[in-house]
């Protein structure tokens, strides 16, 4: 019967719409389901996993010493030329010339956080930090020097 089908159609349609409205109505009244995070306010509670890759940093200990020998393995491993290592020659106490790092240049704006440099580093001098708020007003600030001024190679690292 045409008219029966017609009414059935309407009934089914209205029912399907009410099911949807029931669901949205549930969320409208149940505010505990809200998943929004208040980002700048909860900055202190933010708990980023230790593997999160935010930027490359070089670890320095309390004596301002790092483990980077300037072997440029990271520079070779990097797919987009993010890292540039400038070496200098130190004169060791015995009077021998020794290669050491002068500047570890890191272009954050080119970095894709692929972790290849950290994997490639034979001495574990660099690691990934969990920082993620990288916005700056001047693009020049994104080019960073990772070894702190005045730092030197940790004893015993070859």
């Amino acid at each position: 019967m045409f008219i029966v089908d017609y009414i059935k159609d309407i009934y089914g349609a209205i029912r399907s719409l009410l099911v949807g409205m029931n669901r949205t109505g549930y969320y409208f009244t149940h505010h505990k389901e809200i998943i929004t995070q208040n980002y700048p306010e909860n900055r202190l509670e933010l708990n980023l996993p230790e593997r999160f890759r935010g930027e490359v940093v070089m670890t320095h200990d309390e004596n301002n010493e790092h483990a980077c020998t300037g072997c440029s393995a990271c520079e070779l491993a990097c797919p987009n030329g993010t890292i540039k290592i400038i070496n200098k020659f130190d004169i060791s106490p015995e009077g021998k010339k020794k290669k050491a790092i002068d500047t570890f240049v890191y272009h954050l704006e080119l970095c894709t956080m692929c972790n290849l440099c950290v994997d490639a580093c034979p001495t574990g001098a660099i690691k990934m930090a969990q920082t993620f708020e990288h916005s700056v007003y001047n693009r020049g600030l994104l080019t960073k020097q990772l070894n702190k001024p005045g730092s030197k190679l940790k004893a015993g690292v070859e």
């Binding site: 409205m21 949205t24 109505g25 969320y27 409208f28 809200i34 929004t36």
Partner: protein
């Protein structure tokens, strides 16, 4: 009992006493105009914020919560932003019509406000063909939209405007038929009389199933007539970017935006007046005690409560349903809503003649 009627009477008496009748009338016009504009501004702010909050809660978000306490100044900030923005007029557009269109839409929304009774004895113009007036005026707004779409010199705008034209013209029919089914019961076109006829119960409850059917159809049809989702084909964000107001910016866009919300308010106010008794408190037949308690709630609270409930329902639709396609939209009207409301009107007439309603 607090009533707005007493305030209007005091003002009226003072004006007629102090000034000559013509001058008094003029001052009344000014007061009404200022009040109407103030209502518009307030409604715009409140409804935009309400929409955003409703959307946010349905979408398990928090919604605006930065500007002012709990974000209540958000829409004010938006308004300031829109006022500060440059109102662009695109090259190749019909400049006169392009700039005129938002004002037409806005004026239509303002005019339709006239016969609505906000509270007991509180309306701008108690015209005896109130319902007819509102439905006549509200169909003018399609001209504004067509004008905007045509004058923009943009194909998206044109498509949006054409869709809007087809949509509004067809949905007006079922809105009219639904209104008629109540007119049949009341026998009057005056909105005030319709409210007064619901003294002993609202038509939604008194009119049996036909009234409920026409209420549902009315809500669906006015949603379509105000271009609200799921019938927002004329803006259809994912299809036509922004439809007829693609090229508008700044205050001209804000006028369209405001007019949309004012239109929602007006159609919901009409719906509340026709089906839910307008400012009439909730009365239950002969339960005197209950009716007295209900009377203690001021009538304008009843009116705004009902209207905002209907607005909420329309917002609820918007944030739940996907959009219809343009041919389905017309199918829905011509194959479902119109035949049903016609049959419904016949049944309603039978009910009214036989006096089967309460």
């Amino acid at each position: 009992m607090f009533s707005l009627e007493s305030i209007t009477t005091i003002v009226q008496n003072w004006l007629t006493k102090t000034f000559s009748p013509n001058l008094a009338l003029f001052f009344e016009f000014v007061i009404v105009g200022v009040l109407a504009i103030a209502l518009f501004a307030a409604l715009g702010l409140v409804l935009v914020l309400m929409e955003r909050k409703v959307a946010a809660w349905i979408q398990i978000r928090l919604g605006p919560n930065r500007v002012g306490p709990k974000g209540i100044l958000q829409s004010l900030a938006d308004t300031v932003k829109l006022i500060m923005k440059e109102g662009l007029t695109p090259d190749g557009s019909d400049k006169f019509l392009f700039n005129l269109a938002p004002f037409i839409v806005m004026m239509v929304a303002m005019l339709a406000l006239a016969p609505i009774g906000f509270s007991k004895g509180f309306h701008i113009w108690d015209i005896n063909i109130g319902v007819l007036y509102v439905s006549a005026i509200s169909s003018v707004s399609v001209i504004g939209i067509l004008m905007a779409g045509w004058a923009s010199n943009n194909k998206y705008s044109l498509l949006g405007a054409m869709r809007s034209g087809a949509q509004m013209v067809s949905y007006e029919l079922s809105v009219g038929l639904c209104i008629l089914s109540i007119i049949v019961l009341t026998g009057s076109l005056s909105l005030n009389d319709i409210v007064l006829s619901q003294q002993n119960g609202w038509w939604l409850f008194k009119g049996h199933i036909p009234a409920i059917i026409s209420f549902v159809i009315f809500i669906i049809a006015v949603t379509a007539e105000t271009n609200r989702a799921p019938f927002d084909l004329s803006e259809a964000e994912s299809e036509l970017t922004a439809g007829f107001h693609t090229e508008y910016s700044g205050m001209k866009f804000a006028l369209f935006f405001l007019a949309e919300y004012i239109n929602i308010f007006i159609v919901c106010a009409i719906g509340a007046t026709l089906f839910l008794g307008g400012w009439m408190p909730f009365h239950l037949g002969t339960w005197e005690g209950f009716n007295h308690i209900m009377d203690y709630i001021p009538s304008f609270i009843w009116f705004f409560g009902k209207t905002f409930f209907l607005i909420f329902v329309i917002m609820w639709f918007r944030w739940t349903f996907p959009r219809l396609r343009v041919d389905q939209l017309l199918n829905l009207e011509w194959k479902y809503l119109l035949p049903i409301s016609m049959v419904n009107l016949v049944i309603m007439t039978l009910v009214a003649i036989q006096g089967w309603h309460f």
